[in-house]
């Protein structure tokens, strides 16, 4: 696709839809996306599946007498767009008025970000297939016990985002990202264990098939021979992937939306110590090579670098335009849209715990007895409102500062606030899994149920 040409064409289209709704007395905002995707799946060195796709869609938000209405369509024919405008206006009439409903005004300039790696588009399909095959070869070569490929895939996506509103915003950008992952199974005797490796980012050259393949294999192999343990209290270390899983539970509680609606365990705690002093938590919509980086958010507000927790002290929350109006502050550029099918809510961009200075080995060395957790199951059942969580866990037992035998079938439970306070060390290995990142994190003591 010629994204420059498409940008002009769709800015024009979005402008027309906005004008149509505005003529009927509404504030209006059109958010339009169009893009292409590629996904390659390899198994046993064969391309098992190849998917190519193109899609587009437009979401229209209108505000009439402080009431919000929304409609979306993937059909850009004049009749379908006309119907979309009518439905959005009709839906607004059903909503409850709220004086804080508003649209952002025009901004002077957006951050200049490098979001388009031409190599993602110009690299031939054959080369991408070969990269995927190489990941699988590397995983298999790592250890003969790596016998099954659950999946081994490469994917990329190239897309255009256009935003126009009746307050003067007319902006667009195009971006691309790519990634690769492998899930393999190591088999010994009657036992099977899974492991994964992955890499996602904005640059094709950063996908290292050797690293992805070997990481998946190493994680599977080291779990072979896993045993159950008895219920006890001990130190717990989360590897970066497990730590990012917990960040997913914390994220909603740090949105102004949850705070205003009384659904956040951080409500009323700005300025207070909510986590151990070793924790700095950041949301950065401009981070270089951040997969969620963009010049503006889902409402046309410039993205920002926001420090949420500094040395354990809660500094602020994340805002979109509505929640900011309600608190009388400025939006932090966190008007997040899952797709053109939804209105902008408050959400994170690149969200991470800042790295500490010591290596993971150093912080593990200080543990007399504990569990190094490498995978958790059922994280989506954790309750972001109460903060209560209870998850299945697998990992490796730590004895006298050394990783010893693999452990499976245990559960760890607690409350996320207690967990944040109990962190006593953060390592230097900040790793991103998609848009969420964390280093290795150590918890002084927790219940491990076995």
């Amino acid at each position: 696709m010629d994204y420059q040409a498409l940008k002009r064409q769709y800015l024009d289209l979005a402008g027309q839809v906005v004008a149509k709704a505005a003529r009927q007395g509404a504030l209006a905002e059109a958010y339009l996306t169009a893009g292409e995707e590629l996904n390659i799946e390899v198994r046993n060195q064969e391309v098992e599946a190849l998917t190519t796709a193109r899609d587009q869609g437009l979401g229209l938000r209108v505000i009439v007498d402080h009431r919000v209405g929304f409609a979306f369509t993937t059909d850009f024919s004049p009749a379908a767009l006309e119907l979309c405008v009518e439905q959005a206006l009709a839906n607004a009439r059903m909503a409850t008025p709220d004086e804080h409903n508003c649209l952002p005004a025009r901004y002077h300039g957006y951050p200049q970000l490098d979001l388009w790696d031409p190599e993602i588009t110009t690299t031939p399909l054959e080369k991408k297939i070969e990269t995927t095959r190489e990941i699988e070869r590397q995983a298999r070569a790592y250890d003969p016990r790596v016998k099954i490929t659950e999946s081994c895939s490469y994917s990329d996506s190239r897309y255009l985002v256009v935003l126009a509103n009746s307050q003067g915003i007319a902006a667009a950008y195009h971006a691309a990202n790519c990634g690769a992952s492998t899930f393999v199974v190591a088999v010994e005797n009657d036992e099977s264990q899974t492991g994964f490796g992955l890499a996602y980012g904005l640059k094709f050259k950063n996908i290292d098939p050797v690293k992805v393949g070997r990481e998946g294999a190493a994680k599977a192999v080291r779990m072979l021979g896993a045993k159950r343990i008895n219920t006890q209290r001990a130190a717990v270390v989360f590897d970066p992937y497990v730590a990012t899983n917990f960040l997913g539970v914390i994220a909603p509680a740090l949105t102004a939306d949850a705070v205003q609606k009384g659904k956040s365990l951080f409500r009323g705690r700005v300025g207070q110590q909510v986590a151990a002093p070793v924790i700095n938590l950041i949301d950065d919509g401009r981070r270089p090579d951040g997969i969620a980086s963009s010049p503006f958010d889902g409402e046309g507000v410039p993205t920002a670098h926001t420090v949420l927790i500094e040395k354990g002290v809660l500094k602020c929350f994340l805002y979109n335009t509505y929640t900011a109006a309600r608190d009388g502050v400025s939006s932090t550029g966190n008007g997040a849209r899952g797709s053109f099918k939804t209105t902008p809510e408050v959400g994170t961009t690149n969200f991470y715990i800042e790295a500490g200075s010591r290596t993971p080995e150093e912080i593990i060395k200080e543990i007399p007895r504990g569990l190094y957790v490498t995978e958790v199951m059922g994280m989506h059942t954790a309750n972001p409102i109460s903060g209560d969580f209870s998850v299945g866990a697998t990992g490796i037992w730590i004895e006298k500062g050394e990783l010893t035998t693999p452990v499976r079938g245990v559960a760890i439970a607690g409350n996320i606030l207690g967990l944040l306070e109990a962190v006593d060390a953060v390592a230097s290995d900040l790793t991103f899994f998609g848009a969420t990142g964390a280093p290795t994190v150590r918890i002084a003591s927790m219940t491990i149920s076995g």
Binding site: L50, A53, A71, K341, T381, I385, S449
Partner: protein, 467 residues
């Protein structure tokens, strides 16, 4: 019909022009409405139109897939050509003659959601909101979500299958938050089905809302769940998350064929206690996982997966079935035109037994009673699963004791199925969205009251609870 027959033929021919054994087109037009209420406000009223087509070509073990939401003939031909170019094979001309397979079951939608005004839907949401808030002063927040979808599909393939279908679903979810100033807890309740507005003839929105609110308030008074191994009684009304995770996923044929399931190669073997029978059935009218045809045009069917403890059958889609030279069980499902079909569950349940639910509880001296399950997850490769207890109680001397919060049950599918020692006759359905390979599809699940003599409860140790 979302496209004339001759266009479907031309697109399938184009998809096969570079070779390939099988081509298929899945066209979808999805109209949806959703309403969200929070803080006593109707915050969000959304209408949407999402339409598109997915084209698939299979050659040997390889699949090429492409999708687009431009449904014009020329654009779909271009997509078909793009997909065709991704497979290697011997091109051959093939005549495609369509026949329409009969459905095994007819569903009646009494009142389509597009015949109901948005005002009426908004009113339903308000009724639920008001009812939840009236339950207790400690209810601090209520979120009510209503959603309906009318999904029209046209599915055609080079074997000559042509199916037109319409799936109608309605859903109501209520989330209540309760706070006593010290603790904050939540309660959740949902209802939905492959049904129109008549869903609300059987489901009272106020009653749903009160259930959610009462659960949130009760959780404030609940004590932290104990940790460690103990007997677990799961009530018939608890939903079927456990069976969905403990064995359902492991019986999906794609995972079995890739040796990613602990149930691989075990057909004909005893994999569960002989009082355990497990069934998957999309043909039950009105359930959330019901359909007449799956997303490949195969009629839905009732499949007995485990009968009296013996593994009888796996769940197949077209591709998995073809690999074994057999027929699909009608379990090929996809989230939308953007996704390839894969074997999925529909409505999955443990069949009712002969025991009495009350007697099972009375015969259990101590343990955990699960009255409502939440979400879950499984590692199909080794069978380890986990699920969340949304409402649970301690069992003391065969009686229901105090409520507990924050419990998670973790176990191993085959181990748990083998030790189930009691199965009652009361069957209660739950509903949810099941995720697999990044695709979410509506499912139903159920079980009667059962007892598992020993399961790991992930709570916290007493020393901590006493703090």
């Amino acid at each position: 019909m979302l496209l004339p027959e001759e266009d479907l033929q031309a697109i399938l021919q184009a998809a096969l022009q570079q070779g390939g054994d099988f081509a298929e087109i899945f066209l979808e037009r999805r109209r949806s409405t959703s309403i969200g209420c929070e803080e006593d406000k109707i915050e969000r009223v959304t209408s949407g139109l999402d339409q598109g087509a997915g084209i698939r070509v299979i050659a040997g073990e390889n699949t090429a897939y492409g999708y687009s939401n431009d449904l014009q003939r020329e654009s779909l031909l271009a997509t078909a050509q793009l997909v065709a170019g991704a497979v290697k094979g011997q091109p051959r001309q093939r005549e495609i003659k369509f026949t329409r397979p009969p459905s095994r079951v007819e569903f009646t939608i009494k009142k389509r959601p597009d015949q109901v005004t948005v005002a009426e839907k908004v009113n339903l949401v308000r009724r639920a909101n008001d009812a939840a808030r009236a339950v207790d002063q400690r209810i601090t927040q209520v979120t009510v979500g209503y959603g309906d979808v009318i999904q029209e599909v046209t599915i055609a393939n080079s074997d000559g299958v042509l199916v037109d279908d319409e799936r109608v679903r309605c859903r109501l979810v209520v989330n209540a938050v309760a706070s006593d100033g010290r603790h904050i807890q939540t309660g959740y309740e949902s209802a939905g089905g492959h049904q129109g507005w008549e869903l609300f003839e059987q489901v009272n929105p106020e009653e749903q809302a009160r259930l959610a609110a009462r659960r949130a308030v009760m959780m404030l008074e609940a004590r932290p769940a104990p940790a460690g191994k103990m007997p677990v009684v799961m009530a018939g009304e608890a939903g079927g998350t456990m069976i969905h995770e403990a064995c359902g996923h492991g019986l999906e044929a794609d995972l079995v064929q890739k040796q990613l399931s602990v149930y691989a190669g075990k057909k004909g073997q005893q994999v569960a206690a002989d009082i355990v029978t497990v069934v998957d059935d999309p043909t039950i009218p009105g359930k959330y996982g019901s359909y007449r045809f799956d997303d490949e045009g195969t009629p839905g069917q009732k499949t007995v997966l485990i009968e009296n403890g013996v593994l009888k059958e796996y769940m197949y889609d077209y591709l998995a079935a073809r690999k074994e030279g057999r027929r699909s069980t009608g379990n090929g499902r996809r989230e939308s035109y953007q996704d390839r079909p894969i074997p999925r569950m529909t409505n999955t349940y443990i069949a009712p037994g002969k025991d009495d639910a009350g007697a099972i509880l009375r015969d259990t001296k101590r343990g955990l009673l699960v009255k409502r399950m939440g979400g879950g997850q499984v590692n199909t490769t080794n069978g380890d699963f986990v699920f969340d207890v949304a409402e649970g109680y301690l069992i003391q001397d065969g009686q229901i004791g105090p409520a507990v919060r924050g419990a998670t049950l973790t176990g191993n599918g085959p181990e748990v199925l083998r030790i189930i020692d009691r199965v009652a006759g009361d069957l209660g359905f739950g509903l949810g969205i099941c995720g697999k390979d990044g695709q979410g599809v509506p499912v139903g699940d159920a079980q009667p009251t059962i007892r598992i003599p020993e399961l790991v409860v992930g709570g916290i140790l007493d020393e901590e609870a006493d703090k």
